[in-house]
């Protein structure tokens, strides 16, 4: 290893590290309590967000299913929207939303890699996502989540898991 590289590797002070370590700070317990309270305040907005994203997703899936070629831009839109829904669910205790949306993303990812379209699997995921977005499925989904995920998993596993792609 060269001396040049040794000289280049050094801890560089940043404004973040300097300020963040100053007293008084916020403890983990205080932060979690404050953060959870902030999340709770946003729950009405969460329901509106998911409702809006589901509408957009419905349109994207509709358009994606009108084309035989896959991947297509509507499929990419559907992936992005499903991913956004995925990233919201569990923050608000809608774990089922995150699981189903993640399965939907995985399906689209595999279809993209396989260059295949599957209207049935796409629409089934969409319907499942609408179902678990209802308050009945908040938290553990009342025991109905596991069979639902198994069924969706079978649709996804119909296509091989990509091994050669990155990212």
């Amino acid at each position: 290893m060269s001396n040049k590289m040794r000289n280049e590797a050094r801890i560089v002070p940043t404004r973040f590290t300097q300020i963040a370590r100053q007293k008084p700070g916020i403890s983990r317990e205080e932060a979690i309590q404050a953060g959870q309270s902030a999340v709770l305040d946003m729950e009405p907005e969460y329901l509106e967000w998911v409702d809006g994203l589901l509408r957009e997703l419905w349109s994207a899936v509709d358009l994606a299913c009108q084309e035989d070629a896959f991947p297509n831009s509507h499929g990419e839109d559907a992936y992005g929207l499903s991913n956004q829904i995925r990233n919201l669910g569990a923050t608000f205790d809608y774990e089922a939303v995150t699981h189903v949306a993640d399965s939907f993303c995985e399906l689209i990812h595999r279809l993209t890699e396989a260059k295949r379209n599957d209207h049935h699997a796409m629409r089934t995921h969409l319907n499942a996502l609408r179902l678990v977005s209802t308050p009945t499925f908040k938290r553990d989904g009342g025991g109905e989540l596991e069979p639902l995920m198994n069924a969706l998993g079978q649709l996804v596993d119909h296509y091989p898991e990509p091994t050669g792609s990155v990212g």
């Binding site: 290893m1 590289m5 040794r6 280049e8 590797a9 050094r10 801890i11 560089v12 002070p13 940043t14 404004r15 973040f16 590290t17 300020i19 963040a20 370590r21 100053q22 007293k23 008084p24 700070g25 916020i26 403890s27 983990r28 932060a31 979690i32 404050a34 953060g35 959870q36 309270s37 902030a38 999340v39 305040d41 946003m42 907005e45 969460y46 967000w49 994203l53 990419e76 992936y79 992005g80 499903s82 991913n83 956004q84 995925r86 990233n87 919201l88 669910g89 569990a90 923050t91 995150t98 949306a101 993640d102 993303c105 995985e106 990812h109 990509p162 091994t163 792609s165 990155v166 990212g167």
Partner: protein, 184 residues
């Protein structure tokens, strides 16, 4: 294994959240503000984020891997590799939604300090910010990699850290040597 996550002070810390969606940004901002961070600014795409970063007023970057499709890692790499960029050393937290092969490795190799798997939780976010604040790593500037030293497996995660992300685990001999030289 280190002790519990240490207290952190985020007063007047300027955060840029690069996230393609409004909900993702609003959740992140609300939690960060509840921790004391302010201002928390939004960029919806790589171009907006780059413009804001180049101003040099961003203290912490939180970037979604799925920014502009999957260009989050490219944004991180461009920040790290631009020697004229005043923010090239800032801590960067990469957030990941649906994860595909190589996403964590790509994030790490682009120069992100840590990865956090979404959905966000206050505890998960706090733990990573505390870790980044209290465990700064040597900044490596090599031909094939620019960013924080990628080896920190031995240090472990803070006690009680919510392990919702995949921590980087690499064995880069050259970086080890460079980092060892840096910390004496």
């Amino acid at each position: 294994m280190q002790g519990p996550a240490k207290d952190i002070n985020l007063q007047n810390i300027s955060v840029l959240v690069a996230d393609p969606g409004e909900p993702g940004f609003q959740i992140t901002r609300s939690i960060l503000r509840s921790f004391g961070a302010d201002p928390v600014v939004h960029a919806r795409n790589v171009a907006q984020a780059s413009k804001l970063i180049e101003r040099g007023t961003v203290d912490l970057l939180i970037v979604n891997y799925h920014l502009d499709g999957k260009a989050g890692a490219s944004l991180v790499r461009s920040v790290r590799e631009d020697r004229r960029n005043p923010a090239r050393h800032i801590p960067i937290l990469m957030t990941l939604g649906h994860t595909t092969i190589g996403a964590v490795t790509l994030s790490r190799d682009a120069g992100a300090n840590m990865v956090l798997t979404l959905p966000l939780s206050p505890g998960g976010l706090y733990d990573r910010l505390s870790w980044m604040a209290n465990h700064p790593r040597p900044f490596v500037d090599q031909e094939n990699y620019v960013g924080p030293c990628r080896r920190f497996k031995d240090a472990g995660a803070p006690g009680g850290m919510e392990r919702r992300s995949v921590d980087f685990e690499v064995d880069e001999d050259e970086e080890d040597e460079a980092a060892a030289a840096a910390v004496g």
